[in-house]
């Protein structure tokens, strides 16, 4: 039986093309691809409209205010911004050298048969759920910091205000260390990838000039891959800024700005996670959503910038190899 005629003869060819399986299927997949873009706009719109109340009331003062007093409805986000930024910086200071060491070892130095096993183990570090890191951090790492690391730092570097203060174990330092553990796999995996993408001709040229292995890595690999490595570090930073659970469990959650790394602190993601349930007044919830909006924008910028760097780098290499 022939299919019923839906259109006149003239349009029928175009109509059939429009209704054909191929075209429908393509449009269907297009809709889902479009969904990813719509999702971004939707997240931004929802967070923005949710924080209107707080934006109107506090304006830019929200970013510089140090007071966080739900009872009197005074909200300033600076202690949380400080906590997030400082703990992430500590994490970077610890994680960057270690991650670069790992990336160099895995891409340049390790015996070939261990490479994939070792890379896999480092990647497993990223697979451990953050709440499990938090649990481990709270019951294993924090006591270790309290009993060994803090006394050690105080006796050697105690003249700096950074390393003075109460020795609870819990605090900014613990938050930074747990973050470092969590971003090492990100930074090392991406930097290893960009280092592997460096054309071998670069290495061969350096070796041919009589360079040692380290000199080859320094002049041929690191120099060539520096844009991508910078991107990898930014990706790690983005992850550290947004990480919630592990930090919440070890940083102490007290909104204050203190020079001492031994003092408790509070992060942006932390305050959202632990106070949204108490936020019964609209302005309180709105202030929390504004912190979420800030966090979204900051991590978005980090990620866009980092991805662009890594992408451009990889494209350049592909060009060089061909």
């Amino acid at each position: 039986m022939p299919p019923p005629l839906l259109f006149g003869k003239k349009e029928s060819k175009r109509a059939r093309k429009f209704l054909s399986g191929d075209s429908i299927f393509k449009k269907l997949t297009l809709i889902f691809a479009l969904f990813i873009l719509v999702l971004f706009l939707l997240i931004f719109y929802e967070l923005y409209s949710g924080s209107q109340l707080s934006i109107n009331k506090f304006g830019l003062g929200f970013l510089t205010g140090v007071e966080w007093d739900p009872v009197h409805q005074v909200f300033g986000a600076l202690p949380f911004i400080y906590g997030t930024v400082t703990s992430s910086i500590i994490a970077l200071i610890i994680a960057v050298p270690i991650s670069l060491g790992i990336a160099i070892y895995l891409s340049e130095l390790a015996p070939r048969r261990f490479r994939s096993l070792l890379s896999f183990m480092v990647e497993l570090l990223a697979a451990v759920p953050s709440v499990v890191y938090g649990l481990w951090g709270l019951f294993v790492m924090v006591p270790w910091i309290r009993d060994y690391l803090q006394p050690f730092l105080e006796s050697t570097l105690g003249f700096l205000p950074l390393f003075q203060g109460p020795k609870f174990g819990i605090g900014m330092l613990a938050g930074g260390i747990i973050l470092a553990i969590m971003i090492i796999p990100t930074i090392s995996a991406v930097s290893r990838e960009v280092m592997l993408a460096v054309p071998d001709t670069q290495r061969e040229a350096a070796f041919a000039l009589g360079a040692t292995r380290w000199e080859t890595i320094r002049v041929a690999v690191l120099k060539y891959a520096r844009t991508g490595i910078f991107g990898a570090i930014l990706l790690g930073l983005g992850r550290a800024l947004g990480e919630t659970m592990a930090v919440i469990m070890v940083i102490g959650n007290r909104p204050q700005i203190s020079l001492s790394l031994f003092e408790p602190a509070y992060t942006m993601s932390g305050v959202i996670a632990s106070e949204y349930i108490e936020a019964t007044q609209e302005i309180y919830l709105s202030a929390l959503i504004e912190i979420g909006l800030l966090l979204f924008i900051i991590t978005l910028i980090m990620n866009v910038f980092a991805r662009l760097l890594v992408w451009r780098m990889m494209k350049m290499f592909r060009g060089a190899k061909e």
Partner: protein
């Protein structure tokens, strides 16, 4: 003089090599530490009752996390219903039709989406779903986790479809099969193991997520009764018990962490075997 300089260069070379090796060792320490502590402390908390019974108040001995295991499985199921269709179909678009500016934009944004902190996803679903329906629910938790699965599945689907040789597509189309049927039945089944790898990886990634669930699934002390009700999950129980002051709850937190860690590690190691099988072919 020259000999001296050469020895110095050789020493620096050795030094840097050992520093690099040292960093690998330093990175493995926390991994080993987590696995050792979670296993040793977790095993002692585990018995049959732990798996099948409901939580008890902190002053009573015993009790389990049966409802949390059930909740985590339900949440993974719900998240998969959101994440797999969207991820796979957008992945197909990128691989088959996405060699244009729009495709690059989607690809780029999918990468960026995977870097958005999970707590933002939770907050987003809280504002849009939970506040609208006026109730914490399993469904909202599933949506939050499902959104997080999308970028991983999209990118792995795209990559594995791109690996399918064109000759296979041409063979199918030469037999008169339409392009969309070719994609669905020939290309997808060739790229199957890669896509499954991506799905497993994304499940491993969301199974341990806690932050988005705080706002959505919320947690509960009873068995799941409906998708519009709050629901328990392993990460939520670990968090609640770990920060509680009660010793027997803390012990159970280790037990729950052990089960969660095993789940995540098995998924990750499983992925490795699936992926290896693909390359052997």
């Amino acid at each position: 003089m020259i000999a001296k300089r050469i020895t110095r260069r050789k020493i620096v070379d050795k030094l840097v090599s050992s520093l690099a090796l040292l960093s690998v060792v330093i990175a493995i320490i926390p991994l080993a530490g987590v696995i050792i502590f979670v296993t040793s402390k977790g095993l002692s908390a585990i018995n049959l009752e732990f798996f099948i019974s409901l939580p008890k108040p902190p002053d009573e001995i015993g009790g389990g996390i049966g409802n949390a295991i059930q909740g985590t499985l339900i949440l993974i199921g719900l998240a998969s219903m959101v994440g797999i269709p969207i991820g796979v179909l957008s992945g197909i678009y990128l691989a088959e039709y996405g060699d244009n500016r729009f495709g690059s934009l989607v690809r780029f944004m999918a990468d960026v989406l995977s870097g958005v902190p999970s707590i933002i996803m939770g907050l987003f679903v809280y504002v849009t779903v939970v506040l609208t329906t006026r109730s914490f629910s399993a469904l909202s938790g599933g949506i939050a986790l499902g959104i997080m699965m999308i970028p991983v599945i999209t990118r792995t689907t795209e990559e594995s479809i791109r690996l399918v040789p064109n000759s296979i597509r041409e063979a199918s189309m030469a037999l008169g099969v339409r392009r969309w049927k070719t994609i669905l039945f020939v290309v997808l089944s060739t790229a199957k193991s890669g896509i499954i790898t991506g799905i497993m990886l994304s499940i491993a990634r969301i199974a341990g997520e806690t932050a988005p669930l705080l706002f959505t699934a919320f947690g509960s002390d009873v068995w799941a009764t409906g998708l519009n009700q709050p629901i328990s999950a392993l990460p939520l129980v670990i968090y609640k018990y770990a920060i509680s002051p009660y010793a027997n709850w803390q012990a159970q937190a280790w037990g729950a962490a052990f089960i969660l860690l095993i789940m995540v590690l098995v998924l990750n190691i499983g992925v490795r075997f699936v992926a290896r099988g693909r390359y052997r072919k």
